[in-house]
């Protein structure tokens, strides 16, 4: 009896210690992931002088966030507002379009048996792992030749092709679209396109939203392609513009005041994406399991 009563006690203690150590571990990393963002937010409330003279993890005497916002949109003939607009147009069209195109293609791969199906899908799969770099130089030259460079179309068009989206939508369509339902609709005489538009697309909607979400964030945060294809400063997207201002700010004696604008601009650039993720948690958390099913 003595052994039996003592054993659970030490076990309980051990379990509690384990749990405390695990919590500590997880909290340390929560701090690691959030503290830099906290610093960015706090810094955006300071004046440029306050940035240099006050402690990074606390507010300086004057709260200057709204003045910084005003300065941000006024600086450089109000280019920042243009960058936001360009980024929004690019991210919205690229993500809406590429997810729709991926959904159509993924549905075709899942629903039909046709000559060339496996070969085509194999090529699509392989191209997921072709480094995007390979497309950089030819896209730049193609866009220059066709007169599309320095238009938003130059970055939108290549972004409409999303092989990983096709792959995800095929897997999703195989699980979500019930074959019986489609066959029943066929027997009732519905055409293939009507079946897709009225039945299948509704079943595919959660997958569509997930692919849309990641395509949106991918486009909003993209830097390499816009950097190559857009060279006029009024056509920049946020990432290219902020990196440009940062390079100006770092030049000795040129525009030191830009640091606070880059920091405030960074906060403004992050906020929309964070809201999207916060409000659509159900989608991205559930949707990510798509990729793991048959990977």
């Amino acid at each position: 009896m003595a052994i039996q009563t003592r054993k659970p006690d030490t076990y309980k203690l051990r379990v509690r210690l384990n749990s405390m150590a695990t919590h500590l571990f997880m909290f340390v990393f929560l701090a690691y992931f959030l503290i830099p963002l906290l610093w960015l937010m706090i810094s955006s409330t300071k004046t440029n002088d306050g940035l240099f003279s006050s402690f990074g993890f606390w507010f300086s005497k004057d709260f200057n966030f709204f003045q910084n916002l005003k300065d941000l949109f006024a600086y450089d003939n109000g280019n920042f507002a243009l960058w936001m607009r360009n980024t929004a147009i690019y991210a919205l069209i690229a993500s809406l379009g590429s997810s729709l195109i991926s959904t159509l293609a993924g549905y075709a791969f899942a629903q039909y048996r046709f000559p060339g199906r496996n070969l085509l899908f194999g090529i699509v799969l392989a191209s997921i792992f072709v480094p995007a770099t390979v497309f950089a130089v030819p896209l730049f030259l193609m866009m220059s030749k066709s007169g599309l460079s320095n238009t938003l179309l130059a970055v939108i068009l290549p972004s409409l092709v999303n092989p990983f989206g096709v792959y995800l939508m095929r897997i999703y369509a195989e699980q979500a679209v019930s074959q019986d339902l489609i066959d029943a609709a066929r027997v009732d005489g519905a055409g293939e396109f009507r079946i897709f538009a009225t039945i299948a697309f509704r079943l595919l909607a959660p997958g569509y939203v997930t692919v849309l979400l990641f395509a949106f964030v991918g486009a909003w945060n993209n830097y390499f392609l816009p950097l190559l294809l857009l060279s006029r400063s009024d056509l920049f997207v946020l990432t290219v513009g902020l990196a440009y201002w940062n390079s100006l700010a770092s030049q000795p004696g040129v525009a030191h005041v830009l640091y606070i604008l880059v920091i405030t601009g960074s906060v403004v650039a992050i906020v929309p994406v964070m809201f999207v993720f916060l409000f659509l948690q159900g989608f991205w958390q559930g949707g990510l399991s798509l990729g793991s099913v048959k990977a």
Binding site: H23, F25, G56, T133, V137, R186, F277, S289, S292
Partner: protein, 306 residues
């Protein structure tokens, strides 16, 4: 009724034009993707490969030189220095990041932690930050003028650490990438863990396995496909490292040189020097190296798994 039992077949009573139309349906669905794919993937690839076979000189114009550019890439010290840099970066950063991601996913899935959704969201949040902004932010963070790390060091009467040096730059960038993508990889693995039926754990527990053994022998092997996917994506991303060094070169131009990573090198070749032909060959060689490394790593890790 035969339709329901034989999905995808058409009724024999349908007229022939309808059959032809039916057979063409999948291609209609694929059409938008295929047009885009040919225009913006296949065509650029062919175009670029063709470019890589020529040399353009101010005197002498454009000459066909076959695979000579590729021979030049193989002997190009700048290219291989960049490859060496990203390999050193990846050899440390990928195992650390994916190891952390796996531990986070296992902990969050095991219900040891109260309120796991806070951690899930908090860890994932840096993924929403554009990598340019992440690099800018960490660049300031590391900095001497208003960086908080230097401020803390000064307050403690210590010498402020200098991060962006020849030896420090790779760990400094590895930290940025880990900060940004650990949570994303955690989610991929976590989603796979969620799909394992709980009965499997119960069975292992009845057999006397403890939590660590269950993690090692049951959970990790079952989510291996998801882990392999994160490995592939990480290798691909590492070999193409561009945004972080391109932003940090502003604050540390002497450390991040014009060929610091293969992608930086390629960018400077094409857009600083206008050497489009040679940079196309560099791009294809990079893709080849990337493919070889990814296959080797997958082969090695898969064998260990079995």
């Amino acid at each position: 009724m035969s339709v329901a039992n034989d999905p995808g077949k058409i009724l024999p009573t349908q007229p022939p034009w309808q059959r032809t139309l039916y057979k063409a349906t999948p291609y209609f669905f694929l059409l938008p993707f295929l047009i885009g794919y040919i225009a913006f993937s296949i065509y650029p690839l062919l175009y670029s490969f063709n470019l890589s076979l020529y040399r353009k000189q101010i005197i002498g114009g454009i000459t066909f030189i076959g695979l000579e550019n590729y021979g030049k890439v193989f002997q190009d010290a700048n290219f291989w220095e960049g490859i060496r840099n990203v390999l050193i970066f990846g050899a440390v950063q990928i195992p650390v990041m994916l190891g952390l991601a796996l531990i986070f996913a296992l902990v969050l899935d095991s219900e040891i932690i109260r309120r796991p959704s806070i951690f899930r969201l908090g860890y994932f949040l840096p993924f929403a930050v554009p990598s340019v902004v992440a690099a800018l932010m960490w660049g300031y963070f590391y900095g001497q003028s208003f960086g908080p790390i230097a401020q803390v060091a000064v307050a403690l009467k210590l010498k402020p650490p200098v991060f962006l040096t020849a030896n420090g730059i790779i760990p400094a960038m590895a930290n940025i990438s880990t900060w940004q993508y650990a949570g994303y990889n955690m989610l991929i693995i976590y989603a796979a863990l969620k799909s394992i039926p709980a009965e499997l754990y119960d069975a292992a527990r009845v057999d006397g396995a403890n939590d660590l053994q269950i993690a090692w022998y049951v959970r990790i092997p079952l989510v291996w496909p998801a882990i392999a996917l994160t490995i592939l994506f990480s290798i691909n991303g590492t070999l193409q490292l561009f945004n972080e060094p391109n932003v940090l070169t502003v604050v540390a131009p002497s450390v991040v040189n014009l060929h610091f990573t293969p992608n930086i090198y390629l960018y400077n070749l094409a857009f600083r020097n206008g050497e489009f032909n040679y940079s196309a060959a560099v791009a294809f060689t990079l893709a080849l190296v990337s493919g070889i490394i990814a296959s080797l790593v997958l082969y090695a890790t898969n064998r260990r798994e079995r």
